[in-house]
């Protein structure tokens, strides 16, 4: 390589680096001062603590807030504030304050002290956006393997807003923004996919900031990080009505929109007013006060969750543990009880679960109930503090009000777990067409599903066009294959450009009438087609099929079937 080649090569480095360097040139980024570590965050926290004292309202750590009686709040707040002045805040506190109380942090990219609201404004200005991005999801995990928990915040908005990573550096709260291509597919162990270097990677700490360490191994199948929907302070999120729940009304379910939940406390019956929540395939009553709704990613499955914020938690008795009181409901495909039990146990290794005669699973702090539906189970996870009294209290009452939709209303975007399709093929030796049946099974991943022949295809994980892909290859002819790729863009034009680039110069590709990219190989031997589909959360998936032209009327039918049956969810 020549020096000029190296200089020119730098043109194509990730644009996030170019923008960061430009901010540096403009003097927006200054070097992190290392003297007086911890001064900034302590100052901010003590200011916050003073405010708490002045206002007298106080706040508690999230876990305390869950379970303390209202009358104890102020005393507890003062106590915990005084405690904080002596020591650093615990991890949960600063994360909660960043998210909901605009706690300031030091932005390593710009060298400014900012907060979440201001960061969104800066992002708008820096990227020339017409609309200000908003925090949408967050997750707390150990990103850099140092034993401390970092906070990662994701944003909604035009373009590809970055992930903001925040961590405590010797008492100084610091943040770095990573563009989506720089940090994608975040896993529960902190590993992520770095599209810029086409490798799995991990952060590590060095000299008061983070650097990226590339990893050799494939981490595609590691469990995903669990994201929680961000809810703005003081409000409860309005559940987004899924398309198939909009048509379902309380009248249709023959349930009242409002009702009282009753449960026993200290030997007396207690009633609390509640509203009917209509979810995807179920309904139940949620107390009007004291519970915050979130949409979360529960080990790769979208889930509804309600977290008790204190006032309505009386029925659970007094306790001061950090264990939450919450109800989580999700749908998991599959009709085998053993499979669903195994899955719940596998994703919750911290619970020592036993099973009762009715098929529920129990542990000290959790009860998991299963409601069989047409093509899977609705899973209801009730979590309570270990030393709660009065049994399940209001949580039990909420569960008692649970109802699955009647089958006539089944509005799941469910698909049969298995399906048969009739295809036709041309028999060369007999010079005639033949109809035949293909038995398939549903393949459902996060964001999409399709039907895959039960026999004759094997799956493999590959990189296609620089992105992780799953590919099903025909065992009879490996040139016949179907693949799915989640693109790192939400823009169809960019998806098409990616398609041209990924297909390479061996194919004469063109933009076809369906908005995809198709074409034959330049030697006329094979055909490649990519269709782009947007999922409900605006991710774009490419469904790609490839086959030798000689197999158009034979094996090519299989991959066309897989493409035709592909659906985003």
């Amino acid at each position: 390589m020549t020096e000029m080649e190296l200089l020119e090569l730098l043109r194509d480095i990730p644009q996030g680096y170019i923008r960061q360097a430009d901010a540096f040139r403009q003097g927006h980024l200054r070097i992190l001062k290392k003297q007086r570590p911890g001064a900034a965050v302590r100052k901010i926290l003590s200011t916050a603590a003073m405010l708490v004292l002045i206002l007298g309202a106080g706040f508690l750590g999230f876990h305390n807030r869950l379970t303390k009686a209202p009358g104890n709040l102020t005393d507890q707040a003062i106590l915990s504030t005084q405690d904080r002045q002596k020591t650093q805040p615990d991890t949960e506190e600063w994360q909660r304050m960043v998210l909901w109380e605009d706690l300031s942090f030091y932005d390593l990219d710009t060298g400014n002290t900012t907060n979440l609201s201001q960061f969104c404004q800066d992002l708008t200005r820096r990227n020339g956006l017409a609309e200000t991005p908003k925090p949408s999801h967050y997750t707390c995990l150990d990103l850099d393997g140092d034993g401390q928990t970092e906070l990662v915040v994701a944003f909604t908005g035009w373009g590809d807003p970055p992930h903001l990573v925040l961590g405590d550096f010797d008492g100084k709260l610091c943040a770095v923004a990573y563009d989506t291509p720089q940090m994608d597919r975040l896993k529960a162990d902190g590993v992520f996919y770095h599209a810029g270097i086409r490798s799995w990677a991990k952060l590590y700490r060095t000299g008061g900031e983070w650097a990226v360490q590339t990893l050799e191994e494939d981490h595609s199948h590691a469990p995903d990080a669990i994201w929680t929907q961000w809810v703005s302070a003081g409000t409860e999120a309005e559940p987004e009505a899924a398309a198939n729940t909009e048509k379902v009304t309380p009248e249709l379910l023959m349930r009242q929109a409002h009702s009282d939940l009753t449960f026993w406390k200290d030997g007396a019956e207690v009633s609390v007013p509640a509203n009917l929540f209509i979810g995807d395939g179920y309904s139940l009553y949620i107390p009007q006060e004291g519970w915050v709704y979130e949409q979360i990613d529960y080990h790769g499955i979208p889930a509804d969750r309600w977290v008790c914020t204190g006032a309505a938690g009386d029925g659970l008795g007094q306790n001061s543990t950090a264990e939450p009181t919450q109800l989580t409901i999700l749908f998991r495909p599959g009709t085998d009880y053993q499979d669903i039990w195994d899955w719940v146990i596998a994703v919750n290794p911290q619970w020592n679960m036993v099973q009762n005669a009715r098929g529920s699973l129990y542990a000290d702090t959790a009860t998991v109930n299963f409601f069989p539906a047409e093509t899977g189970f609705i899973v209801c996870i009730l979590e309570t503090p270990r030393f709660g009294t009065e049994g399940l209290g209001i949580l039990g009452a909420m569960w008692q009000s649970f109802n699955g939709w009647p089958s006539t209303l089944t509005g799941f975007r469910h698909r049969d777990p298995e399906a048969s399709f009739t295809l036709t093929r041309y028999l060369d030796d007999q010079q005639q067409w033949e109809e035949y049946t293909v038995e398939t099974q549903l393949y459902r991943a996060k964001g999409y599903s399709t039907y895959i022949p039960k026999e004759g295809f094997e799956s493999e994980d590959i990189l296609y066009g620089g992105l992780p892909a799953i590919r099903w290859v025909c065992q009879e002819n490996r040139e016949v294959w179907f693949a799915v790729v989640k693109l790192d863009t939400q823009d169809f034009d960019q998806a098409i450009q990616w398609g041209f680039s990924a297909g390479g110069s061996d194919y004469g590709l063109y933009e076809d009438a369906s908005g995809g990219v198709s074409g034959s190989s330049t030697d006329g031997s094979a055909y490649l087609s990519m269709q782009f589909h947007k999922s409900y959360n605006s991710s774009i998936y490419a469904a790609i099929r490839h086959y030798p032209l000689a197999q158009t009327d034979n094996l090519g039918g299989y991959v066309k079937l897989m493409t035709d049956q592909f659906q985003t969810e």
Binding site: E5, D12, I31, G196
Partner: protein, 185 residues
Amino acid sequence: MEDEQILDLYFSRSEQAIGETAVKYGAYCHSIAFHVLENKEDAEECVSDTWFSAWNTIPPKRPLPLSAYLGRITRSLSIDRWRRARAFKRGGGQMALALEELKECVSGAGSLENELIRRETLMAVNRFLAELSVVERNVFLCRYWYLESSREIAEHSGFSQSKVRSMLHRIRGRLDTYLEKEGLR
């Protein structure tokens, strides 16, 4: 005007798009071109060529943010122009100095005509950049992307010039080792 509004003008083929681009990014692109060419007139011509290139590529492209897209075009055009000028013995300045410095990290034999090797090398360079700290990466890119002098970088960062030079020297050494290890030097 926001980038999205400027892009809308390009998509509606309004010539106002060029004017708005020049207002918002003229100084930025001029700075890039001037650092390469160190000649005001040449830099202005490069910036004009950048607007022309943007007009011809948007649509179908809809690049956001515009700054990085325009910056890349300007940089490429400026380097091309610098190379042509050097053939007539006019090229010099920061570009020549930067190239001289980068000699430490390369073999000197052309190898990137092959697209596959080029892509592999780019991936390796991207990996290398990802592994640098944010400060090191910014200093490196100010020097070899924006072609700024060590004096200018020192002004931005608050580092002394000698610290910037030694930092660049260390990074080049690490890049040399990295490319050598990857067999891409």
